[in-house]
Amino acid sequence: MFVILPFEVTHTFENGTSVTFPVGATINIGKYPEIAKRLEKYNKKQVEGSPQDKMVRASGLKKKGVNGNGSGLGE
C-alpha cells in the first residue's frame, strides 16, 4: 500500500541503520508495519478529532465559534 506521509517518521532496522522519511514522501508502508500503525492512529484522530471535540459532540453542545454563531457552551 502506497501512502503520502503526513508526518516525518524514522524507522530503525535491526542492524541499527535508520531511515527518515520526510513529510510528503510517498512510501510503501507494506515494508514498514509500524509506520502503518502510526498512520492508522493519525487518520483515526483526524476523523474523530481531538478528545475535546469528542466530548463536545457527546454532550450535544455547540462549540464556540462554529458556523459563526456559537453560544460558547461546550468550551
Binding site: 502506497f2 532496522f13 542492524n15 541499527g16 541503520t17 535508520s18 531511515v19 527518515t20 522519511f21 520526510p22 510528503g24 514522501a25 510517498t26 512510501i27 510503501n28 507494506g30 515494508k31
Partner: protein, 198 residues
C-alpha cells in the same frame, strides 16, 4: 498509488568509488517523461565513516526563460524553484531537461539573480525556453530521504516489489548522495529503479 499501476520501464544505476577531498559520491537517477521513479532495490556500504546518505528529491521546479546552447553554463530562470525558505543557492544540485530529453545534473557554482544561475558542469545539449529545471537542493535539506548506517563495511540493502519509495511526481528526478567530499569513503552503491505510470 491505487489501482492500474503498471511498470513502464526499468533501469539500474550505481557506482563503486571513493569520495575524495574534492568529489562527493553521487548517483544520478534521472526522471523520464510521463513516468514516476519507484526505488525498487538499493544497497550501499559505508567506507571509513558512517555518514548518512540521502536520496535527494526534487524540492521544487521552474522553467527556463532563455535558450541555452550546448556547452553553455548559465541559466536564466522564470521563477524561484525552491520551496519557501530554501531559495536556490550556490552548491545546490539542479537537474535540467535538455532538448534531447536527457537530464543534465550540475552543482550550482554561483547565483546572480534568477538570470544568472551558473553551473559547475556545462550542459551537453541545447535547451529551449520553457524546459523544466528541478531544484534538488543540498544534502541535508529538509525533504530528502535520509539513511543513516551505524556500521562500516556492511552492505545496507532494501528491496520490495512495487517499490520502497517514490519520486515526487512524474518526470521528477532524484540524486543519491553518498559520502561528502569532506569525510571521504563511501564505497559502493547500486540502485534499481522501476519507472511507473502513476
Amino acid at each position: 498509488m491505487g489501482a492500474n499501476v503498471y511498470l513502464e520501464s526499468v533501469a539500474s544505476y550505481g557506482t563503486i568509488g571513493t569520495a575524495t577531498s574534492t568529489t562527493a559520491l553521487t548517483v544520478e537517477i534521472p526522471g523520464r517523461s510521463g513516468k514516476r521513479i519507484a526505488i525498487r532495490a538499493f544497497g550501499f556500504m559505508a567506507g571509513g565513516t558512517c555518514e548518512a546518505v540521502q536520496f535527494m528529491q526534487s524540492l521544487g521546479k521552474t522553467t527556463l526563460l532563455a535558450v541555452v546552447a550546448s556547452g553553455g553554463s548559465t541559466l536564466s530562470l522564470s521563477g524561484e524553484p525552491g520551496p519557501s525558505g530554501n531559495s536556490l543557492a550556490t552548491s545546490d544540485y539542479i537537474a535540467v531537461i535538455q532538448d534531447d530529453g536527457s537530464y543534465h545534473y550540475s552543482v550550482v557554482g554561483a547565483v546572480t539573480g534568477l538570470s544568472g544561475i551558473v553551473l559547475c558542469t556545462v550542459v551537453t545539449d541545447s535547451i529551449a525556453i520553457g524546459q523544466t529545471v528541478y531544484d534538488l537542493g543540498a544534502k541535508g535539506d529538509t525533504g530528502h530521504i535520509n539513511w543513516a548506517p551505524t556500521t562500516v563495511s556492511v552492505l545496507n540493502k532494501e528491496s520490495i516489489d512495487g517499490g520502497i519509495f517514490y519520486g515526487t511526481e512524474k518526470g521528477s528526478p532524484m540524486l543519491f548522495s553518498g559520502d561528502s567530499a569532506a569525510t571521504g569513503l563511501e564505497e559502493i552503491c547500486y540502485i534499481t529503479v522501476d519507472y511507473i505510470n502513476k
